[in-house]
Symmetry: C2
Subunit: 225 residues, 2 copies
């Protein structure tokens, strides 16, 4: 397993090499192809996961079958920790958005780590606090912004986390279909498509297969406020 990503993860940053090696022995490798789920709403959960490579979407299903995405996570991020601290079934489904490699850490292993290395809990608290802040942001966006605004925000956020400089702008290989993007911003596919078309028409974006190139960050950022 490629442990480089893990070694750099803030959660393990305080560990010395020896402790880190012991820990990696306890990790389980999980490989997923696009569309495969790690766990589903209602499952019993006793593991948290690190994303080594690829992307994962966390989603929920409404009683009548519609879907909504809580977050898109990438390399170095962790998820599935809630079921450990607040013990109850999983409240979201985790699905691979692309070819994805995860490292699973069992509840007991984590508890062992927390016992011998209490500093690690600080990192966990930070990770949770950051996630809560992001979720609060999404909540406000949903109330304050219209769909084009939310799409702009989502693209900028994805660009921050997954963007790479390209010849004429920033390439954001988000790997999401417009349907998934719509579920992420809480709107219909149709409306998101229109918003994207408008951005393209204004010269702010170029669309590619499951990716966009942001040509005018400035304007897009203004539209997102």
């Amino acid at each position: 397993m490629d442990i480089e990503v893990l070694r750099r993860a803030p959660l393990f940053a305080t560990l010395d090499d020896e402790a880190f090696r012991l820990l990696t022995d306890e990790l389980t490798e999980v490989d997923l192809s696009r569309g495969a789920s790690v766990f589903r709403e209602g499952d019993q959960g006793d593991q948290l996961y690190f994303i080594v490579s690829g992307k994962v979407k966390l989603g929920r299903t409404s009683p009548d079958g519609r879907e909504s995405l809580l977050a898109i996570l990438g390399p170095g991020e962790l998820f599935g920790e809630m079921a450990l601290f607040d013990p109850s079934p999983r409240t979201a489904t985790a699905t691979a958005v692309s070819e994805t490699r995860l490292a699973g850490l069992k509840n007991e292993s984590l508890n062992g780590l927390l016992r011998t290395r209490p500093e690690v809990s600080t990192q966990l608290l930070q990770a949770l606090a950051r996630r809560l802040r992001r979720t609060n942001d999404s909540l406000s966006d949903l109330v304050f912004s219209d769909v084009p605004g939310r799409v702009a925000k989502a693209l900028l956020d994805l660009a921050d986390r997954f963007g790479r400089p390209a010849t004429d702008g920033v390439l954001v290989a988000h790997e999401l279909t417009q349907e998934e993007l719509a579920q992420l911003v809480g709107a219909s596919r149709e409306t998101v498509n229109k918003a994207l078309a408008e951005f393209v028409q204004r010269g702010w974006l170029r669309l590619e297969a499951r990716a966009v190139v942001i040509l005018d960050m400035q304007r897009l950022r203004q539209r997102s406020r």
Copy 2:
């Protein structure tokens, strides 16, 4: 100060009486009347707060001045902890909804506590995980449910946490104006008013001043799905 609420708070449950007494010495008492703020968006934060009595709303303001509420918190709950773990300015404004008494705990005191009592961090992780779950719930509700559904959900949630049995139902003294209730569910005051009127007309509710009496939990619960 009335320390009973604090003694029962899960965060301090594992402390022996001696440790608890030392801790309470480090708490600062804060009293607020309705409408007064503990901290505001953008402030520098170095304290977290327990609610001893009363209620607090956590809200955000949009660039154009509209407001949205992230949560209503009551006795025994804590807030303002995010600024400590994820150090950056406060991302929400905390305002008293009624006469409120708080106990403030400084960052350094908390760190001291975490150093001597690492078990406390588990409780903090739990509290954060629960909050994150609730926020995720709000997020899904906003996407999945219409306004009447969200109003029903909000009332049931408030009933769970602040409801007291009455002669003909459950009295929920939420202390919120309809404007605030609207900000909580992410809708306009008028629409919320109409939803409430409909519930009353169907015999599910009775309205009182900044309170409701839930007459038919069943139906209300059905409407909220």
